[in-house]
Every structure is written in C-alpha cells, then in structure tokens.
Amino acid sequence: GARVRGGAHIGMETGTSAEGGVMDVFVTLTAALDHERDTKEKIRGVVMEMEQVGRNLLSLMQGVHQCSTADEGSDLCQKADGMFLSAREHVEMLKRVVPNGSYYQFHDQWRFVLQRLSFLTSLLHYMRTGQLASRGDVAAALGVCVSQDEGFHLDIDDYLMGVLCLANELSRLAVNSVIVGDFQRPFAIAELLTTISSGFRLLNLKNDALRKRFDGLKYDVSKVEEVVYDLTVRGLKPQSGEKRPAP
C-alpha cells in the first residue's frame, strides 16, 4: 500500500495540522466569554444587594396605605429617604462594575430592580407633591442619567414600567384612603390616573412587556372610578381642602 506521510493518519487521529487552527480560535473566544462571565458575576453581586434594599423599601412604603395624618405621611417619607440613600450608594457601586459603553449588554441583570426603584421613587415623589415624577426627577433621585450619551442612565422602558406600577399602587391607595377617613385623596388619584392614562395613549407601544402591563392600567383606572362613584353618590365628596365633607 501507499506510504502515509508522517503521523497524520487523517481520519484516524487528530494531529494539530488536521485541526485547522480550531484550538487557537477557541482560545480567543473562551477568553472573551470568560471575561463577560466575570463581569456578570460582579454585577450580580451588586444587584443582589440592591434588590434587598428594594424589597426593604417596598415593605416600608406599604405604610402609605395606613397613613391617616400628614405627620404620619412625612414620617414615612423621612424613613424612606434614609433607605433611598442606601439605594443610591448601591447604584454608584453598580456604575463602577459596569464597563463603559456596555449598558445594554448587561441591562437584563438590573432591569427589574431599577424598575422597582423607579416606581418607589415615583411613589415617594407622589407622597410629597401629589404629582407624577418625570424621568428626570426619578433619574436624579437615583443618581443616574436620563440619556445613554451622558452615562449610566434610566432606560425609558424601565421608567414607564415604574409609572404603571405607581398607577396600580395608587388605585389600591384610593381604596385604603377611604378606610382611614381621607375622602379627598381618591379624587386626586383619579385625576392623576387620568393624566397617566392619556399620556400613555400617546405612546406607540409594541407587543412587549410594557404593552402587557399597560393593558392592566384600565383596571386600575376603573377601580378608582368606582371609589369616586361610591363617594359621590353618597354625598361624601369633600369640598375644598377638607378630607371629609362637613356633616
């Protein structure tokens, strides 16, 4: 039979020449994947701590449904301020572990916690001002930017999700306000939800998570409308400034 060259029995063993440079290519690829994995692990560490702060804040803010006086309200806001400080510190830590220009490569890791913090910021802002916080307000409160040009920013979808969560929370607050004897608040909430609702109707949404969440907004609106109706029909709508109508 014919002589076989060297030790390269093609099809019998794999010598390095038969591998066609495969190993070298994969050395480079593996290095890139390992680097990405290391970054993800660092980010995961920070995000997990942020998530706990988020949970603690959420738990604290549940107190909003039991505030019957202005003092109780401002007390709650002060306590929340303390926790927000911690949240901001964690955001600073997060900014440090996310490589420049790689925001969206790892965005999924902090998407949920940032949506939650955005919602809680808007809730606190509502408690203080009765208004809907703008994206700029929320970003400033969390210590992030508004647009990706400027640096680590609050993604527009995450802000909007926060707004929808706020609407949901406020629809619950409308019900609970009546329980604590504040008959004025549901009317204010109804107005705010109308603002949110008409604002959202201006947006062209795709069939994504935001759209699905937006579909729930109408139930929040009708829940508040029911409260408003119940109060109005019983002559319980307070006149200017009062929480309850004069007897």
Partner: protein
C-alpha cells in the same frame, strides 16, 4: 423647588424617543433578514458545486471568487447597520436581538467558504474585517460582531459541513468526508469546553454531535465498502489518507 407637572408634552417627548427606538430596531431587523437571505444563498452556491479543497481547479477558484463577491454585498449591509447605530450614538447591544440572526448566518457562510479555501477555521480577526467600519468619525469599528454570535454561527457551520459530507460521498467524492472528520471532531471537542454562559449553546452542541456522528458514519461506510469497489482488492485507506493529508501539508501556510 418648582414642581413640574408631567404634561402631555412630556409624554409626547417619550413617544418620540420610543418611536425612534422602534424604528431603528425595525430597520436593523430588515437589514438583518437581508444578510440572512444572502448568506444562505452563498452557502447553497458552495454546496451546489461541492467544492473540494483538494481539487485546485479553475472552476473551484471561480466558485470561491463568486462567493467572495456575494460577501462583499453582505459586508455593505453590515456596514449600513453599524452606521445606523453609530450615527445615533447608541449602544449596539440595545438592538442585538434585531441583528443577531443575520450576523450568525453570515459567520456560517464565511466560515464555510474559509474552510473550502483553506481547510481551516475562520478566525475572529479575519471575520472582523468584513464588519469593519472605516472613518475616524466612528468610535468603535466592529460594532456588530460579538463572540457569542460568532460561536453560534460556527455551530451552525457544522450542520452544513455534514451536508457537504453526505452529499459529496453520494457523488463519489471519497476525500472530502475524511477531510471533514478531524475538523468536525476538533470543533466538537472545543465546543464541549465552552463555559455555560451562552443559553443557546447546549442545544447547538447536541445538534453538532448528531452531525459529527453522521460524518463518522459516512467515513465508516466508505472504509467498509471501499473494498467492494475493486473486485478482490481492499481499497487502501492509506491512499485516500495520503491525498487528503497532502492537501493539509501543502496548505499549512496561512491564507491570510
């Protein structure tokens, strides 16, 4: 501190920003589909002619040249996609799901062509040249090619190599299958070592294994039935191996 009320105007600005993102995404998805379509056509072109790296014929050279011309068109589309992202000063990863498929298909086609030319695996450096955006106004050159898409594209390549193997064998090509076998094995063993970070990977590796088994089966069949071709003579497997190994030694120098 002035309290700004969120107005219809504010939501209007949000609408514009969202629209701009969605429009960009749709545009990139469309360009990505063009890449996919052209890449598939390039692959079929290479399949049709059953290019064998050993033959060195002018026909083969022509097919390889034709395919390279197709790639130049695809490269133009990739540059259009990168420009779209770069001029908006956006993070490319924001749109990764829009263009990922097109990039993977192109890598599949490019690596198949590279194997036909050189018998070697496409390198990241070579691939990046097709994605390169020239001009000082762009801060990043290779916006679209990520290691993950490269890896997934190479995984799909093995499917096409398997097809080339089985088709060429039925057409009487006794060399290509034995040339593909060590290459496929090397790819398989490297894929097995990759970290688990890429979600689509386990399934792709499963498919890769299936392709490898088919290639092994073809080589087995050729080995066993080779004895039936010349009555009374065993087909010398060494003859086949020598010609195939000649190709490798002849082409050890890089084609870069």
């Amino acid at each position: 501190e002035p309290l700004d009320k969120m107005s219809a105007e504010d939501f209007s600005k949000l609408q514009q920003e969202l629209d701009s993102k969605h429009d960009r995404y749709d545009k990139l998805a469309k360009l990505s589909r063009e890449c996919t379509s052209l890449s598939k056509k390039a692959i079929f072109h290479l399949h049709r002619t059953y290019v064998c790296p050993t033959d060195g014929t002018s026909e083969t050279a022509q097919v390889l040249k034709d395919t390279e011309d197709k790639f130049a068109i695809i490269s133009g589309i990739l540059k259009e996609m990168a420009t779209e992202i770069a001029t908006a000063n956006e993070d490319p990863f924001r749109y990764q799901t829009a263009y990922s498929q097109g990039v993977q298909e192109f890598i599949e086609a490019l690596s198949y062509w590279t194997f036909c030319r050189t018998g070697k695996l496409l390198t990241l450096t070579l691939a990046e040249r097709w994605f390169r955006l020239d001009g000082a106004e762009f801060k990043a050159i290779h916006l679209l090619l990520h290691p993950t898409d490269f890896i997934l594209g190479i995984a799909d390549l093995t499917g096409e190599l398997m097809r080339a193997c089985t088709e060429s064998a039925t057409r009487g090509n006794r060399f290509l299958p034995f040339m593909l076998l060590p290459f496929m094995r090397a790819l398989y063993s490297e894929f097995l070592k990759l970290p688990a970070t890429v979600k689509a990977l386990p399934k792709k590796i499963e498919v890769l294994e299936g392709s490898l088994l088919k290639v092994e089966h073809v080589c087995y069949t050729l080995t066993v039935r080779g004895s039936e071709i010349h009555s009374g003579h065993l087909l010398s497997i060494n003859v086949v191996n020598e010609e195939a190994s000649n190709f490798y030694f002849k082409n050890t120098n890089s084609f870069e």
